[in-house]
Structure formats: structure tokens, C-alpha cells
Amino acid sequence: MAVATATDSSSPMQTLADFGKSKSLRTLLRVLILCFIAGAAVSSRLFSVIRFESIIHEFDPWFNFRATKYLIANGFYDFWDWFDDRTWHPLGRVTGGTLYPGLMVTSETFASCWPPAFSGLTAFAAYLLTNEMTTNTSAGLLAAAFMGITPGYISRSVAGSYDNEAIAIFLLVFTFYLWIRALKLGSVLWGALCALFYGYMVASWGGYAFITCLVPLHAFVLICMGRYSTRLYVSYTTWYALGTLASMQIPFVGFLPVRTSEHMPALGIFGFLQLVAFIYYIRSSLSGAQFKAFLFVGLGAVFGLALLALVAMTSAGYIAPWSGRFYSLWDTGYAKIHIPIIASVSEHQPTAWPAFFFDLNLLIWLFPAGVYLCFQDLKDEHVFVVVYALFGSYFAGVMVRLMLTLTPIVCVAAAMAASQLLSTFLSVKSPVAKDPEQEDATDVSSKKIKQNAGSLRSTNSPYVGVYSFMSKGLVSGIMTIYLLLFVLHCTWVTSNAYSSPSVVLASRMPDGSQHIIDDYREAYQWLRQNTKEDAKIMSWWDYGYQIGGMADRPTLVDNNTWNNTHIATVGKAMSSSEEVSYPIMRQHEVDYVLVVFGGLLGYSGDDINKFLWMVRIAEGIWPDEVSERKFFTPRGEYRVDGEATETMKNSLMYKMSYYNYHTLFPPGQAQDRVRGVRLPDTGPVLNTLDEAFTSENWIIRIYKVKDLDNVGRDHAAAASFDRGHKKKKAIKKRGPRTLRVD
């Protein structure tokens, strides 16, 4: 809807055009349109609240929520020094030093419903950024509208997703706007503002490294193109000197800007610019040929030397090499082999092709056209769009999550293309045909080229104009239809795909009415009410923040994933047999184990489907004790039915998932609806755990870890005795059992 309003400002109606001639009215219209866009952006993010209720989604937000509560309760200084002993039991977490505090500090001062509000600001920032790129003001409005409703950005900023990204994208776009502004004006003030917002960005999201790399890259490309200017020197050095200091104020970042490779490009370009500036300065007192030789030899040598020094310092250990997370962006297979914990996150998977169309729809094919338009009039800021487009497309292709950083530039470029198209075809005035030569635009331009053969074709703007009202109407009509379809698509995607909180599931009843499945909250509520305040819950790390936030119980591992070994310990406990797992759980004082099981409902995001990652991560630390191969049948299948391997059947995860499950069904009919297989009639036997709670749809199952046996028997014997079996030699057959101590 906002799009339709935006196009109105340049509508073919002559009356409206006359009406809109006065300058103040145009400003008023522009402000109104921006307000409408902000309104549309906010309201499309409120779908989730209407569909479900006001609840925090996903996993990470629960931590942010908890951290904010702590900040409000204990004040800012305590927050910095916050040592959280209720996660990562028994290690604890130095929370104050390992988070990006921008979000919590922001939300302390704003209302709870603020991610949508930030999307309005993002739209405004996109408007400003686009206006820097083109003189056509309708492009800015279109960009704002695109930014406001595109699903690629909505996915992270719906109401209830209390996450860093929501605020970070606004800061990203606004920082880029300030950077372009500073570069254009060569002003220290704008550079300083850019640095301040960069600092804010660093405080909010780990993705700040994107800016840290993109701005130097832009500067470097400009220098290589021979476009060095004193403005570039002023803006870049101001931004770097102040921005780096600002980023070092965040405890989590600290010395990283001088220690790690991610930050080295910025530093290198900073030094390089000093050199270039110096050389340009002495240029004025040297003759041309002398200077050229001096420039090439001098610059090349110093650049090479600096690179060598960087390599030497990296290998000598003064500068940390690229961290795994960044390295995996270049070598996409790297994470899978070396750091399975990163590869196991679904957001870190490579993007599938349909996802581009799903998230950006028509923008994705307007995007290259917009980038092409930048080449037509290649100024410093257009170079930025080109560099950003290339860089952003690559990263978005590598990691689903980084689609978020591509979205702003797609919106900007697409808006430029769309507004170019619309303003060409929407002008009421037909061009006046003076000469017969000029009737064909391409003909004229080709003749012009012959006349002044020295200049490039792109430098003399061809005479463009459309005569027939028919073709005008046709093209603008089609474009309008596309834009309307885009709005429809965005609305549909937002309301259906991105508005469901993962805590609450929705399904359709046979009669079409909505049925809410609320097992997560049921289980967390049970934990809150029926367990001791300090009962330690072991679960896979995905659910750590939720347990901490909703059930308020200590967890072993959570979504922070700072300690790979600890996560691998949990993975080992889950993937080993009970005899191995029990000592591990005792050592970590685990009281309850929580698993997510979707077999009854057909909920595919359950732990059995994530199980292989647990095995892989555990195998990374204990290759002798856990082996991924043993979970596959000899034919290489991952099975959970009667054909499953012995290791699989004995693993704690398998037992906990399918314990007593067959009793739900008539004999021989037990079925797992996620894997679509029939299960054996006899379910697994659990000796060391007691089933404590199973939610309504069996999604969450909680087990209590048994205490040591009163009379000193091992649990298998005790359980077997309870089942009424006599003490048999069969138990002895397994031989003496030793506790494994790691």
C-alpha cells in the first residue's frame, strides 16, 4: 500500500503534477509518505501478536530478555560485572564481558514493543542512503517502502523477536549513510558521527565486522581507481581513529581491533591512506614523470611490506588469525570439519536459491539493474553500492543469516532501478520531435558517438523519451502490478512464515480452525513449579536460553556456545549408553534431563533430528569413545526403527525419546511421524532415569536422574529387581563396571 502511495507523487495525472509543484507541499507529501511507510513497516510486524499473543520468539531473545531484566534490577555497573552462575553449570559465564550490550541498554529506555519501531527508523535510514545515491527523490521513498516490508528483514524484526539484529540493521544502514555523507562532504563532523554510530553498532551486534571490512574495502577500491581525494582522507581517518576507539570501549571487543585479522584491513588501509596522503602532498612540488615513478615504486613497496609484516606478525602470534566463524565464510567446508558447533546452527547453512526469491521477491531482479545504473554515473558513492552489492551477495550466498546484510543494498539498488523506470515512463509530456534523426533515441546516440569519438558512450547521455501513450501506460501499469504483487507477497510471507514463535506452534484442525500447541510453555511451567530453585537441567544447547528465561532454572549449556568442550560433554552424555552417561550426569550434578521429541506430532525440529550434530560435536573431543559411523546402519542409513544400530538403540537420547512411546499405540502400530517409520513393539528400557514429565503432545519430555541406589547396587540391577526379575548371572556377564572419569 505504501508503494502505491509512493508512486503517486510522480503520477501521470497532470493535475496532481501541478498540484505537487509547490515545494512545501512536496515536503509535506514526503513526510506523510514516510510516516505511512513507517506505519506499514510496524504493522506488518505485528502479525505475530495478533495471531498468537505477545510472547518472545526464538531462542536468543530469551537471553536478551533475561539480561535486560538483570540490567533493570541491578543497574549498569553491576551489569558489566555480572557473573551468571545459573548457566553453564558448573562453570558459570562472565556475562558482562561476553555480550553486546547495545540492545539491552537501548531497550531499557524504550517500550517493550520496540523492534517494529526500529524497522520504521530503518526505512527512514534507507530513504536517506538512497537520496545520497541519486537525485531522484522518489527512489528514496521507494527504498524506504521496500526496506519497510521486505521479508528478508522482517524475519528478524517481528514483534516478539527480541534480538540484536532488529536494532543492528538500522544502525548498519544509518552508519553507511553517515559514511557516504562524510565522504561526500569531507567533513570531520560527519566522520565523527559515523564513528559514534559505528560504536553503537559494535555494541549491538557481532555483525559489525561487516562495516569494519566494507568501509576499508570501499576506500581501497577508490584508491585503486585513482579516485583518492582529500575528502576520502579526512572522512576515513576520522572514522577509523574514533570508531576503533569507540569499539574498544565494549568489553567483549576490547583489544580485538589490534589483535585479530578481521580488523586488520581497516588498520592497513588507515596506514596506507597516510602514505597516499603524504605522497599526494609532495606531488605538488615534483614534475609529473618523476612523481609517477616515485608513486608506483614507493606505494607498491610499502603495501607489499605492510602485507609481509602482517603475515609475519600473524605467524609469530601477535595477531590472531581469522577466527573460525570468519574463516568458514571463505572456505565453506571448513566449519563442518573443524568446528561442527558452528556448522550445526541452521542459520549458518548456505542459502538455497529459492530463499533469495522468497525473501526479496521482485527486488532480486531489480537489484542488478540498480547496480548497472550505478555504473552509468560512477561517483564515489556509486562505487560503494557496487562494492557492497558484490560483497553482500557473496556473504548472503554463504550463510542464510547474512541475507540480512544484503537486504538493505538490494532495497536501495532496486529502488533506484524502479524509480528510473517509473520516472521515464510516467512523464506526461511527450518529447517534442525536432529532427527526424532524434526520433530514434539509439540512432541519435550512435551518431553522437561518431561525432565525438574521443568520449565514452556512457558519458554522453542518450536522448531518452517515450512517445506513445500506449507504451507508457503499458509499462507503468505492469510495473504497478509488480509492485502490488510484491506487497501481497511480503504480507503473505510475513504473516505465514515469519510470525510464528517457535515456542508456540500452530496447526490447523480438520475444520480449518487454528489449534495452538503450547507444549514448550507447559513444560517450562512444570519445571518452574515442580522442581527445586537450583535444580540443574541438562538439555541440548538450543533450549538453554529458554529454560533460563521461562523456567528460571540453571542449565549446563546454552545458546551462547562459548565453551565447545562443555557442549561436547552434553553431546557425549546424550549419545552414549546409560552406563557412560550416568557418571557424566552425576559429575555435573544434573537433576533433570530435557529432550524434545516430535515423533507423535510430526514436529521435525526435534532432538533426534539434531542428534547427529551432538554426536559429531562429541566426536570432535572424544574420537575414541563416540563415533558417528556407529549410528549409521551398515548400509549407511540413519534409522530409528527396529533396524537401528545397537549404539543408536543404547544411546541415552534414543531411549529418552522413545521411552514408553509404544504404549500409546495398539501393538505393532507404534509409529514415528517425523521419520515416518514403524517402531518395534518393545520400547527401550531406562535404568538410571525416571520419567518425570511428558507434555500434552509429547514434544517435551523431562526425566529425573535417579539418585544412587540405597543398597549400593548399580541401577541396572536395581531396575531389573524392581521389574520382578531375579538377580541373574546375565548382569554379571557384562563384567565389572568402572566409572569413567574424564
Binding site: 562532504l185 569531507g186 567533513s187 570531520v188 563532523l189 566522520g191 565523527a192 564513528a195 559514534l196 581525494s229 582529500t230 575528502r231 582522507y233 579526512v234 581517518t237 576520522t238 577509523y240 581513529a241 574514533l242 576503533t244 576507539l245 569507540a246 574498544m248 570501549q249 583489544f255 589490534v258 588498520l267 592497513g268 588507515f270 596506514g271 596506507f272 597516510q274 602514505l275 596522503a277 603524504f278 609532495i282 605538488s284 612540488s285 615534483l286 614534475s287 618523476q290 616515485f294 614507493g298 610499502v302 611490506l305 605492510a306 609484516a309 606478525m313
Partner: protein
Amino acid sequence: MAPKKSQTKDASAAAPVVTTGTTASAVPAVSAPSKKPSSAAVAAKSSDAWSSVATNILSHYQKTTPQRTKLIDLFMAFLVVVGGLQFVYCVVAGNYPFNAFLSGFSATVGQFVLTASLRIQTTEANKADFPSVSPERAFADYVVGSLILHFFCVNFIN
């Protein structure tokens, strides 16, 4: 930060050193007289001798730079010396309070680039590059930038 910075300075310092070296080997006959009298510099320029580069720059600087800009340059030279001293101290005596070293060093580096920006913006020859920045505006920006810089430095120094 440190190595790059020092390299820049090295380049400026190295220019004259290299010059004399090449002169000695390449064109000893011409360069020998060119050193003393200033009028001979004109002759040396045409002969492409490297030493003329240095003298050219020097005389150009003395002729064209206004007094105020020279003051700015003096301040920048002072900052380079202070920064260099801190860096040498860090290398020799260890970087133990790394916070303090970093903030001290980046204060000098930051102040250096801000001053360089001020110098660039106020130079007559660069007027065309900065249509919107008057000298007064440049100075106001400079003050704001320095305030922000030192606020961060003081906050970071512990």
C-alpha cells in the same frame, strides 16, 4: 596501528636518505655542486637527480606554506615524536598496561589525523574539494572530533 604509523614516517624520513645514496652512484658530477647554492637547484631539477626532489620539496614547503599551517605542522611533528616514544617504550619495556598504551598511542594517532584533516581543509589549494567546509567550520569540527577522541581515550585508559 603501530607498525603502519612508523612506516609512514619512515617513508618521509627515508626519502632524503635514498636520495643521497642514488646520487652518489648515478650522477656524482652534477649533484656535488648542487648541494650548496640554492640557485643550482634549478639546474639539478632538469637533470632528474634524486637529491633535487628533497630540496624541491623543502623550498616549496618554505615558500608556499603560511605561518599558521607551519604551526599545525609543528604540532603534528610533536605528535609523531610522542607517539614514537610511546611505541618505543612499548617495544622496550613491554606493553603491560595495554589499555593505557593503546589509549595513549591512539590519542596521538587520532589527534594526528584530526590535525592533518584540519590542515587539509584549511589549505587554500584544497578549497575546491571542500565547498561546504569553511575554515571556521573546519576548526569547529576539529574541536568536536578531538573532544570525542579524548573522551574515549580517558574512558579507556583505566
